[in-house]
């Protein structure tokens, strides 16, 4: 079954993947912070952010088409909530394009808001994609735990990661079996079959959970885990962190002095 959707690129050996995962998390979270707090309409800032992002993508050796594809995830949301912003008339309007004698006007405030929301959304998604695509998921969780993320959530997530392939596999097998039996028609016609499939999947998953728990219990599990991961900061990691912050602060300063 095809489910190589997690850790698809984390095996790539690159300048980014060799970094300490904690440093990577701090750097990218800071980057997202900076992007989100950029004032709408500061084109210079956005351009420099984009440049930094492209540099990091180049360092990561992750195919840019993959990152681009991931950025499309926000498209439906934009269509639902922000698409109409430029047409929402308020205050002065600016001409958008002209076809013959027809001229489309958009509101200036709406257009700037739309632009900023679009760019911020795409850049943040690209940041997160870079972070998670260059880090194996278990390492990401270990680093988050080391950064004092709630331990209970981390433990549940690491279990989820372990079993997601199994459950997804089971779901896909059931789905294939169902598809091979049905004779066309829309999904709504097969509602009962789909529902029974999901119900069966729930029961099997629940029972698997119980079995796994009992197996763990019989081996001495008492509800807590002792994690043993030792991260070690090297000069390389600190240099990366320093450079990222230097770049972000310079972008901010440049925008303050040169922008507008």
């Amino acid at each position: 079954m095809n489910h190589s959707f997690i850790d698809e690129h984390s095996h790539i050996d690159s300048a980014l993947s060799r970094l300490d995962a904690r440093i990577k998390i701090i750097s990218f979270f800071a980057f997202i912070f900076f992007i989100v707090f950029t004032a709408p309409g500061s084109i210079l800032s956005f351009a420099l952010d984009g440049l930094l992002l492209l540099t990091l993508i180049a360092f990561s050796k992750i195919p840019i088409s993959y990152i681009f594809k991931r950025c499309l995830v926000i498209v439906p949301f934009i269509l639902m909530t922000a698409f109409f912003l430029p047409f929402w008339q308020q205050g002065e309007t600016i001409p958008l394009f002209q076809i013959g004698t027809f001229q489309a006007n958009v509101s200036a405030a709406g257009w700037i808001m739309f632009q900023s929301v679009l760019i911020k959304g795409i850049f943040s998604v690209a940041c997160l994609t870079l972070l998670t695509a260059s880090t194996p998921f278990p390492q990401l969780l270990a680093a988050l735990e080391d950064l004092k993320f709630p331990q209970l959530i981390i433990m549940i997530l690491s279990f989820m990661y372990r079993y997601i392939f199994l459950i997804e596999d089971e779901a896909m097998k059931m789905w294939q079996a169902m598809k091979s039996r049905r004779a066309g028609g829309s999904r709504w016609l097969h509602l009962k079959a789909i529902a029974n499939m999901l119900g069966t999947l729930f029961i099997r998953s629940y029972e698997r959970g119980e079995t796994v728990y009992l197996a763990m219990r019989s081996r001495g599990f008492n509800g807590t885990f002792k994690q043993s991961h030792n991260f070690e900061l090297r000069r390389y990691d600190l240099a990366f962190l320093f450079n990222i912050f230097l770049a972000l602060v310079s972008i901010k300063l440049l925008d303050n002095f040169l922008g507008k």
Binding site: F33, V117, M155, L166, A195, L201, Y206
Partner: protein, 216 residues
């Protein structure tokens, strides 16, 4: 309705983070008290199940499709607290692995879907379940609660966008609520159908229906 980063103002996502952290912290404590040392394996596998169940999508109109939220499904099967915990883990996973929903906006997404959608949905379910009795109550309660959970979560999302000054309330609220009123029909139908099946086959696995043995 996973909100990406850049759509919310700082005061909105920060407030949402505070509310979400507090509520989910309480839910974690409640779930741990109920499940004890079974909690981690069971919640992990149930999160994986809800994640897999969300793969099912149903066409709405005009080429758009909605996928199962699973909030009410999880809450009715596992109870409101465990349901909220499971949905939270699914949302964190989606944010990190699929970038579905932003990082700073994660608090708001947890608030909308895991807290208001799941716990709120369970409250509606519980009231209707008590009014209509066991079998009919499960179906009517789950249908109404599932529909409302999707619509209310979408409306909250619209409210947050309006508070942030991203979109005018008069446009974004009808747009979000309208689309999700349609998606909600799919959610309600599937939730009821799945719950009816489990009620027939393994009623002991449904939270609140179970004997003491299942509550450990």
């Amino acid at each position: 309705m996973h909100i990406p980063d850049g759509f919310l103002a700082a005061n909105t996502w920060a407030t949402a983070w505070v509310i979400s952290t507090g509520t989910i912290g309480y839910c974690l404590k409640k779930t741990a008290g109920l499940l004890k040392d079974r909690m981690v394996p069971l919640m992990g596998i149930m999160s994986a199940f809800i994640f897999a169940a969300q793969m099912i999508n149903f066409p709405v109109i005009g080429g758009t499709s909605g996928h199962l939220l699973g909030g009410v499904l999880a809450a009715v099967l596992l109870g409101p607290y465990a349901g909220a915990v499971v949905l939270t883990c699914v949302l964190i996973f989606q944010c990190l692995v699929f970038q579905d929903g932003g990082l700073l906006a994660l608090g708001a997404n947890i608030l909308n879907m895991a807290i208001i959608g799941t716990i709120g949905g369970y409250v509606i379910f519980n009231v209707l379940h008590k009014i209509f009795g066991n079998k009919k109550g499960l179906q009517i309660g789950a249908a109404v609660a599932a529909w409302f959970s999707v619509v209310i979560a979408a409306s909250f999302c619209a409210l947050e966008l309006a508070f942030s000054g991203t979109s005018p309330l008069g446009i974004v609220l009808p747009a979000m609520a309208g689309i999700h009123a349609l998606i909600g029909i799919g959610e309600a139908t599937i939730t009821v159908a799945v719950l009816s099946f489990i009620q027939k086959v393994r009623p002991d696995l449904i939270y609140g229906f179970a004997g003491e043995s299942n509550k450990a």
